[in-house]
Structures are given as C-alpha cells and as structure tokens.
C-alpha cells in the first residue's frame, strides 16, 4: 500500500489535505467518490487555492485532449484503404 493510502486510512475523518486531494481528482470528476468523501473533497476545494488551481488545470487538460488534432495517416496507407473501400463498394 502506498504511504498516502495508509495516511488516508488513519485520517479518514479529518479534513482533506492537498496530497490526498490530488489523488482523488479523477474519482471526483468521474462521479465515483462516495458521498462522504465528496463532501470532504469539496470542502477542501473551497478553501485551498493551490488545489482549486490544480483541479482547474486538470479540467483544461482533459478539455484540450478532447480537442487535440490527431495526425492523419500517411498518404500511402490512406490510398490503400481508399482503394479497398472503392473495391468493396463497386462489387
């Protein structure tokens, strides 16, 4: 078990700290945090500039991945696939 997980178990009812917050960000964004943890997460979020900045950056990073333009296939590959498409279409 990782050290922060041991720490987290011992302090499960204390206010959240930053090191714990960053490990819960994905579960939070996925809506996978149990209610009690979500409340602790949002309480910390409301009072910590460092962590609210971290979460905002992660949201932007995810949004930017959604928008990232993928490189097109090389021309030879594309031509071969289009040829296959035409052949099947025309049979």
């Amino acid at each position: 078990m990782r050290r922060w997980q041991i720490w987290r178990r011992k302090h499960a009812h204390d206010p959240l700290v930053c090191q714990e917050f960053v490990e819960l960000v994905t579960d939070y964004l996925e809506g996978a945090l149990p209610e009690e943890e979500r409340v602790r997460f949002e309480a910390h979020l409301a009072e910590c500039d460092g962590c609210s900045g971290y979460l905002e950056d992660m949201r932007r990073l995810i949004g930017s991945l959604h928008e990232a333009p993928e490189p097109p296939p090389d021309p030879a590959t594309r031509e071969a696939l289009l040829r296959a498409f035409r052949e099947l279409r025309d049979t």
């Binding site: 990782r2 050290r3 922060w4 720490w7 700290v17 930053c18 090191q19 714990e20 960053v22 490990e23 960000v25 994905t26 579960d27 996925e30 996978a32 910590c48 500039d49 460092g50 962590c51 900045g53 971290y54 950056d57 992660m58 949201r59 932007r60 990073l61 995810i62 949004g63 930017s64 991945l65 959604h66 928008e67 990232a68 993928e70 490189p71 097109p72 296939p73 590959t77 594309r78 071969a80 696939l81 289009l82 296959a84 498409f85 035409r86 099947l88 279409r89």
Partner: protein, 201 residues
C-alpha cells in the same frame, strides 16, 4: 466536426470522402491503442490496417446499436487480441502495468500533506477554456510517453471520447482499474507539461 450519424449515412451510400474523414479522425488513436496489445510498431500497423479492412467489410451489416467509434474500436481490440495470441512476442494488455507512483511528486508537499508552495499552473489560452496553444502542441507527445495501458485508456477516454463503461468492456478492465489508469495517465501528462511552464515565485 461532422456528427457520426451524418458520417455513417454518407459511408453507407459509398461516399469515399466520408471514409477518408473517418480514417483521418481515428487512425492515430487506433494505432496508439493497438500498441497496448502488441509489442512492435510494425505489428500495430498490421492490426490497424486489418481493422480498417474489417470496418469496410462490416459497414453494410453495421446496425448502429453502438456508436460507430465504439464499433470500430471493438474491431481493433478483437484484431489486436488475435494478433497477440498468434504472435509469441506480443504481450497481453493487462501484464503491462507497473507504474504505481503518486499523481504529484511527494516533494511538492510538506510533512503535513499540504502544498509546500503554490503548485505551478498550466498556462491557459486567453480565448478558450483550453490550455495555451504551446502546451496543447505537447499533449500528444506526452501521451506517447505513457505506459501502453495508460496510453490506451487516456486515448479512448479523453481523445476519442468513449464513456468509461465502454472502455472497461473494450479493454476488459474493472471500473476501478480503468479509473486508476486514467488517473495516472492524466497526472503523467500534466507532469510532462510542467517543465514548459515558467515557475512563478
């Protein structure tokens, strides 16, 4: 970007431009996910090529019960699995994960678990709610540096935009494991961008 439904109609009517658009949209992502199953780039190329041919052949029978992209990635995964079984040098997807590190370097925190100083921010684009253009240019390069399993999950979730439940099914992952891989992948990508950010003191 054109909707999948419109694209599908054009594909069915035999419009090769629609097929070209589909290939352009998904080819790189297919290749990245294929690399999670087979060891070499050449094997991944074969798998992707075979997948596209499977798509062409399967289109007339595709009933649209799943989204077009889900269907395409399912063909990819099946093709890649077959290839991995046949090819003695290939690795099964699940055995590839060894990264168990934290999302953020422990040195960023004090002994009380709080940031020892405000964490560096990723620069934002002033006009959109995205990262700055410069950071965006480095995103795919950062994705390339991930472990194969992380790369497959972040590609399907954040680049292709499939829902978690479909990614779990495709990659044969539990909900929790899918989230762990996604979490590490996103954290690694953030960490890879940090050297490009000026540290403000």
């Amino acid at each position: 970007m054109e909707s999948e439904r419109a694209l599908l109609e054009r594909l069915r009517s035999g419009d090769e431009h629609a097929f070209e658009a589909l290939v352009t949209r998904h080819d790189a992502a297919l290749r990245r996910v294929a690399r999670g199953f087979v060891r070499t780039d050449a094997a991944a190329d074969d798998v992707v090529q075979e997948t596209w041919l499977g798509v062409v052949k399967g289109l007339p029978a595709f009933e649209g019960r799943s989204s077009l992209r889900t269907w395409i990635f399912r063909i990819l995964v099946n093709t890649a699995r077959t290839r991995a079984t046949r090819d003695a040098r290939s690795l099964p997807f699940s055995s590839l994960e060894s990264d168990t590190g934290p999302a953020v370097e422990p040195a960023a925190f004090g002994s009380d678990g709080r940031w020892s100083s405000a964490p560096p921010r990723l620069e934002a684009d002033p006009e959109t709610d995205l990262l700055s253009r410069e950071l965006r240019e480095h995103l795919l390069g950062a994705v390339e540096q991930l472990t194969p399993a992380q790369r497959a999950v972040i590609t399907l979730r954040d680049l292709v935009g499939l829902p978690a439940v479909e990614v779990c099914e495709l990659l044969d992952l539990t909900d929790a494991n899918q989230r762990v891989l996604l979490h590490r992948a996103r954290a690694r990508v953030r960490a890879a961008l940090l050297p490009l950010v000026e540290v403000s003191e």
